[in-house]
């Protein structure tokens, strides 16, 4: 037993949601006065973990110790009473209330038990804002009138208005300008000097090097590394942990001869202001082209713009040499495009419906006459499409929400297969898919390409792009920085390209 137990010690935290295990036995130790960084890709389990810590989610299993004592965080209020405050990425402020009212929301200083002492609330708020280096924010102003950076300061003031021992900050720098980030780091420094612990979540490795003490890396709901030294662990090692080299992926063989023929999908000087710069791209039938890049590099935006879900600022998308009407999903679908979006549940699936109806939704005219659906034909077509992809269970009448992540993805692919789509856009196709099911999904994608589809694949997992794609475009901050056949690239080269600009490893 160490003489001084850690401030916070979470061990074996497990949390499942229907169809997905978000946390699978995660450990996290936080010492008083340290900045503990939490790293991981989207979907790695970071937000679930901090919601457990904030008392917003109840873990299925595992223990939480606070100053050495086992505790149960039944509600956000329970966590707050212990001294745990969370500053979420989407700030949870009430826009139509003043700064002071927001800071003291739920624990207003009162006279006679219910009359809010507005003066005292304002005074203490002003003091907190001064401590945070923003005395210019007027406690009487409405929060909705403030800038994003100022709102964040208010959120922090709210955390500090409690007797706080640990602050969780979820991507606090995402909305900030560089000089505001400096101020944020100064605040973090002041807090830790007072013995407050900070759990800091960010995608930006250079920030973690500047202010972090230790790093815990999450991947697929597990802590793949805990308590690494933040300043001395090589970047490459951290990224490798995030992108997950601990699993050996099995990729299908590429065809012997490179794909021939005219490009099926062509992108010419496509650009969207503030998201990605003009680039060219072409995909032939039978070819898989991959886009590699970190979160925020513009990958998903590119796919959605090609698909017509976002309107481009300039440029063209051509299918079979014919330009598509920009910003029209229907035109894209009619021309033979199909998208398997990043957020399957929010963007692709009808969660209340059966697999059949999810598969048939894009090709209802195929088995209907005059709007009248031939349900037998529909079921038969859905069964054929899902069988071709070996979707389990082999019963398309079951509700789609009962399927595993991998099989839900297959249902989305079956939708486009049934539609007879010729260009498949895959956005993070294996997110939320079990490791075992991935190889099968890769094989399916390759087989679809072999059958003549053009596939454009986006993934933040570099090995996935390198292993599955024939050609790779590397993206950094909305710019295509490199294009090469996948055979000529290796993971280190790609990581160097996507990470360029952050402190060298």
């Amino acid at each position: 037993m160490a003489p001084e137990p850690p401030l916070l010690s979470m061990s074996g935290i497990t949390k499942s949601f229907p169809g997905v295990r978000a946390l699978d036995g995660v450990d996290l130790d936080v010492q008083a006065g340290e900045v503990h960084c939490l790293l991981g890709q989207n979907g790695a389990g970071k937000s679930t973990l901090i919601k457990v810590l904030a008392g917003a989610h109840q873990p299925d299993d595992g223990t939480i110790r606070w100053r050495g004592e086992a505790v149960t965080l039944r509600s956000p209020i329970a966590a707050m009473r212990l001294g745990i405050a969370t500053i979420y990425q989407e700030l949870d402020l009430v826009e139509h209330l003043s700064v002071a009212e927001n800071v003291h929301l739920g624990h207003e200083p009162t006279a006679a038990g219910f009359v809010v002492r507005r003066k005292s609330a304002k005074a203490s708020t002003a003091q907190l804002l001064k401590r945070l280096g923003h005395p210019e924010i007027d406690p009487a102003r409405l929060v909705g009138e403030l800038s994003a950076a100022q709102q964040q300061i208010v959120s922090m003031a709210r955390a500090l208005s409690h007797d706080v021992r640990l602050i969780v900050m979820d991507e606090p720098s995402a909305a900030l300008d560089p000089d505001e980030v400096d101020n944020l780091f100064r605040i973090v420094g002041d807090l830790t000097a007072d013995g407050v612990a900070v759990v800091y979540i960010s995608h930006r490795l250079e920030e973690i090097r500047r202010i972090g003490d230790r790093v815990t890396v999450l991947k697929d709901g597990r802590a793949v590394a805990g308590g690494l030294p933040a300043k001395s662990t090589p970047t490459r090692e951290v990224v490798a942990l995030m992108t997950g080299r601990n699993v050996e992926y099995v990729f299908p063989d590429r065809p012997a001869a490179p794909a021939q023929g005219e490009p099926l999908l062509e992108v010419r000087q496509l650009a969207r202001d503030g998201e990605f710069e003009a680039f060219d791209l072409s995909v032939r039938p039978g070819e898989i082209v991959g886009l590699a890049g970190l979160v925020g590099s513009g990958r998903s935006e590119i796919l959605e713009t090609i698909y017509g879900a976002r309107k481009p600022s300039s440029g063209q998308v051509l299918v079979d040499g014919r330009p598509l009407k920009p910003g029209s999903v229907r035109a894209a679908v009619r021309a033979g495009l199909g998208l398997a979006p990043e957020e399957r549940k929010a963007q692709a699936l009808l969660m209340l419906e059966s697999v059949t109806r999810n598969v048939s939704v894009s090709s209802m005219s195929r088995f209907s006459r005059g709007g009248w659906i031939d349900r037998g034909a529909e079921l038969g077509a859905a069964r054929a499409a899902t069988r071709e992809l070996s979707l389990r269970p082999d019963n398309p009448s079951v509700p789609v929400r009962t399927l595993s992540g991998g099989n839900q993805q297959k249902a989305v692919l079956a939708r486009w297969l049934l539609r007879g789509c010729r260009v498949l856009l895959l956005d993070e196709p294996t997110r939320g898919v079990d490791v075992g099911a991935r190889a099968e999904l890769y094989a399916v994608v390759r087989r679809l390409a072999d059958e003549g589809l053009a596939v454009l694949l986006v993934s933040s997992e570099v090995p996935e792009v390198l292993g599955l794609a024939d050609r790779v475009l590397v993206l950094r901050e909305g710019r295509v920085v490199h294009t090469a056949p996948a055979r000529e690239l290796d993971e280190h080269r790609v990581l160097d390209l996507v990470m360029e600009g952050s402190p060298a490893s």
Partner: protein, 339 residues
């Protein structure tokens, strides 16, 4: 129970395979629990009515009356069910019924006779639905606000047309339809219209691409859009459909009352929403049931009838309605969390 008993040879062949239940149990499994419980409530109400007022409640004329009263609001509810299933709401149905009923009964319209009245009712309903649909689908307005504005304007216009006076219908063909002579096999024509609208509504929702698109838009509009469905056009059609149902209901009301009044259809929006919700249609969209909605309408109309027969005031009726809505939603939440 000490030793496992091995079955005699060949007996396993006789065990029916899982999934092949006797016909009636298969039927029970198909009809969902909610529909059955609604039928149970309705049956219980009939029993209560039969016990408290045996002679009056079970009288054929009374049952015909109950069904006739259910017909007007029932047609409106079928349209409302579509709108709610798509994740929308239509607060203007009562006002549209009022406007359509007075527009169709002005002296000028009545000159065109039966056809003029029918045509005008339907056209006014469609026109209001078109405005709702355009505002919501292409104007980006929230359904609640757009249809609230329609409620206010349509009521106002109806008052302007009538100047608050009741417009008596003098066209013979119309009034005859409400007479007993017009009953077909003892069923009032109004009830037949309601039945036809219900059947067509059920078929559209459950058997056509239009119904599928409605459910998809309500279940996940973004997914529907990315799947290639024209979500805006679908929304426009849905409010048109609701307007059409209001127009038909207005025509039924003209037959029933022999007049057009600007106070017609008062609070129909609340009755229709309540009937759809207790029927099992999700207010958040993505799931809708025509059968449930119709049962909801029948339950409410039967309660009103029983209370009236027992000389209970309408305030008591309203309280009972409120309690039923709360109970139905609580039951729904129960079943939703267990499935």
């Amino acid at each position: 129970m000490t030793q496992p008993v091995s079955p005699p040879r060949g007996s396993t062949d006789k065990v029916p395979p899982v999934g092949q239940l006797p016909a009636w149990r298969g039927l029970m499994a198909r009809a969902d629990v909610r529909t059955l419980s609604l039928l149970g409530v309705l049956a219980a109400l009939v029993v209560i009515g039969g016990i408290t007022k045996p002679d009056e409640f079970l009288d054929t004329r009374n049952l015909q009356l109950v069904l006739t009263q259910a017909s007007v609001i029932g047609v409106v509810t079928v349209g409302m069910t579509f709108v709610i299933t798509s994740g929308g709401i239509d607060l203007s149905v009562g006002a549209i019924v009022a406007l359509a009923s007075v527009w169709a009964t002005t002296v000028a319209t009545q000159e065109y006779g039966f056809g003029g009245i029918l045509f005008t009712s339907v056209l006014v309903g469609l026109g209001c639905g078109l405005v709702n649909g355009l505002l919501i689908a292409y104007g980006g307005m929230v359904p609640f606000i757009a249809t609230l504005a329609m409620l206010a304007s349509a009521r106002g216009l109806a008052l302007q047309i009538t100047d608050g006076k009741t417009q008596i219908v003098t066209v013979d063909g119309i009034l005859d339809l409400g007479e007993r002579d017009a009953y077909i096999l003892g069923i009032p024509p109004l009830v037949l219209v309601f039945a036809v609208v219900t059947i067509i509504g059920w078929l559209i929702l459950n058997r056509t691409t239009f119904g599928r698109r409605t459910v998809a838009v309500g279940g996940n509009a973004e997914a529907a859009r990315l799947a290639g469905i024209d979500v805006r056009r679908q929304r426009l059609y849905l409010y048109l459909l609701s307007g059409l149902c209001c127009g038909i209901a207005a025509f039924l009301l003209i037959i029933l009352s022999g007049s057009g009044q600007n106070t017609n259809g008062n609070l129909y929006e609340l009755d229709a929403i309540a009937a759809a919700i207790i029927g099992g249609t999700l207010l958040s969209g993505g799931r809708g049931t025509i059968v449930g909605s119709v049962l909801g309408v029948l339950i409410f109309t039967t309660i009103t009838n029983i209370f009236a027969l027992n000389n209970l005031q309408s305030d008591v009726q309203q309280i009972a309605k409120g309690a039923i809505i709360v109970a139905a939603v609580l039951v729904q939440r129960r079943t939703a969390s267990t499935t």
